[in-house]
Symmetry: C2
Subunit: 336 residues, 2 copies
Amino acid sequence: MTDTVTLEHIKDAYARIKDHVHRTRVFTCAQLDDRASAASAPAKRRKLYLKAEHEQKVGAFKIRGAVNAIMQSDADYIVTQSSGNHAQAIALGCKVLGKTGLVIMPSDSPTVKVDAVRDTYSCEVKFCVPTQEAREAMSAEVVKDLRAKHGQDKAEEIHPNQDIRVVNGQGTIALEFLEQQTDLDAVVVSIGGGGMIGGIAAYIKAVNPKIKVIGAEPEAAKSAYMSKKAGELRKNPPNTPINTIADSVKSSLGATTYPLVRDFVDDVFIVNDDEIEDATKFMMERAKQVVEPGCGVAVAVATSKALYEKYPDLVNVGVVLCGGNIDMSNLPWKKK
Amino acid sequence: MTDTVTLEHIKDAYARIKDHVHRTRVFTCAQLDDRASAASAPAKRRKLYLKAEHEQKVGAFKIRGAVNAIMQSDADYIVTQSSGNHAQAIALGCKVLGKTGLVIMPSDSPTVKVDAVRDTYSCEVKFCVPTQEAREAMSAEVVKDLRAKHGQDKAEEIHPNQDIRVVNGQGTIALEFLEQQTDLDAVVVSIGGGGMIGGIAAYIKAVNPKIKVIGAEPEAAKSAYMSKKAGELRKNPPNTPINTIADSVKSSLGATTYPLVRDFVDDVFIVNDDEIEDATKFMMERAKQVVEPGCGVAVAVATSKALYEKYPDLVNVGVVLCGGNIDMSNLPWKKK
C-alpha cells in the first residue's frame, strides 16, 4: 500500500485512472487576464491558464482521487463522508468499478449534490449533523457495522482528503497541467482538506520547484493559512458549522495533508465571501463557465492585489477550476 | 453592396471577419447525449455537438454579423437597436474598427447587457419602450438626426437581423461548424429575427442539403413557426411586449430572413418557458456552461421527444449555443 505522496506514485495513479477520468482542457479568458493584469500597481500584463476540472466527470476533480483509491482497495463496501463532490466521486467510482458505496453527507449539503449521489449514481446516502466531527464519527460507525455484518476486510473508509491514495490521485491534475502548459510561473489551488493542493504541490515541487504553489482559502475556513503561520497543524474550530458560501472547502487540513502543505506549498492567501461571490459570478458572467464558490476562492486569489503585491513577477498563472457543482435554482447569493 | 445570402458571400465574410472573432470550439456532453438518446421511444444512441458561441467575443454569435456589416460600411456613425447581444456586438465592433456607435435598447434589457454596451465598450445607449416597433422607430429617428448634423452618408443603421451583411456574417458559424464536425445529420438553431438561422441554413443547404436545418422558437414568439405554416411572413403581434424568459429571441422574421427560412430551413419546433428553463439549467448544472435562455430554446428542441418522433434517423445533431449573456444576480427563474 502506498504510504507517501511522490512523483512516482502520482505517475502510477495517472496510469491507473486515466481511462476513467477526463483529461480536462486548459483555456484562457481575456477578461480574466485583464483583471489579473490590473490587480497590481503598476499594471502588468498577465495571463491566467484555467484547468477545467469543473468539466471533469461528476463536475469536480474528486473523481481522480476516488477512482485511484477504489482501484487499490480490496473491500466490497466503500464508505465515505463528504460535503458533496467527493461523495459524488465515490458514488460514480463504485458504480463503474463494481463496488457498493455508502456516503455520509452533512444535512445542509446542496440538493444538486445529494441528488447526483443518490439518483444519478444510485449510491446510499446517510445524513449527519453538518460538522466534520459528526461526519467522521458516523463514517466510522458505518464501517464498523458493515464489517460486523460482512467481514473485517469487506468494508473500508476512503477519507475525502487524508487518504494517501486520494491525494496521489488528485496530484494527477498537476501532471496533466504541466504537460498542457509548460511555462507556468505559479499554480493557484483552493484548499479544503488539502488533498488537492497536497498532491499538486508534491508533484510540482518534484518536477519544477521554481513554479510557485499558492493556496487559496475562505476567511471562514483558513486551516491551511493558520497552520502555515503557526508551523503546526491548526484545524478549524471543532463542532462549529462553518459559515461561507464556499461549501466545498470547509474542511481542515489533517495528518496527511498538513506536512505536504508545510513542505511544498509556497504561500496561502485568504479571501472573504464578497470576494468569493464576485469571482464566482465573474467566471459565470464573463468566462461563461459554471464554477462553484469553492472554485471562486482560487479565482479570487489569482486576481487579487494581495497576490501580485507579494509576488510581482508572476506572469503566467495557472488556476485549477476545481468544481462546478452549484444549484442553479438556489444560488448562494441574493437576487439584486 | 452584397444583396443576397450565398455560400460565396459567407466565405467572403469569413475572410473579412476571422481575425476579429473567435473560432469557437465544438464540444460534447455525455449527459446531454443521454438525454437526447432517451428522448425517443425506443431510445436511440445520439450525440449532440455543441458549437460554443456563448464563448464568442461579447458572449454571443452576434459579433460575426456586426463586424461583417461594420467593415463594409462607409459611415462614421453606426446606429442599431437591439434587445442586447447585437447591441454589445455593434459596440465592440465600433470600438475595434474606429467608428462611433449608438444603440437603442428596450427599457427592460438585462442589466448585464446594458452595462456591457455602455461601460465595457463605451457606446452610447438610448432606451425605448420594449416593443420591436418602438425600437425601429427610434432607430430611424436617430439616424435622421445624425445625417442632418453630419451629412447624409455619415450615419447608417445596421439592423440586427434583416441587414444582409449581418446575415452573411452569422452564416460563418456554419462554415466553421461543418469544418469542425463533418458527420452532422442536423443543426438546431434558435430563431429570433432569423439572421443566424438564415445565414446558417443558406450555407448548409449550399454545401450539403442532406443536413437538416431545424429552427427552435419559444411559444411566446413563434414568428418563424407561424410563417412556415402559413407560407408567408407572419410577425409576432405588434406593439405587445412578449412574455418569455428567452429575451434574446423575441424578434420576428423580416423581409430578408423570411425567404431564407422558407427555402432553407427544414422545420421549426416550439418549446414553452418551462422547457426553456429546464434546458438552460441543464446546460449550467450538467455541462457547466452558462447559456442564456435564448440558447436554451435550441437545447430544449435538440433534446425533445417532438424532434426525434418526427426525425427518428437523426444521430449526430449539432446545436449552436448562441449566447451566454445572463445576469447571475438576477436569474429569470424563482429560487426553489
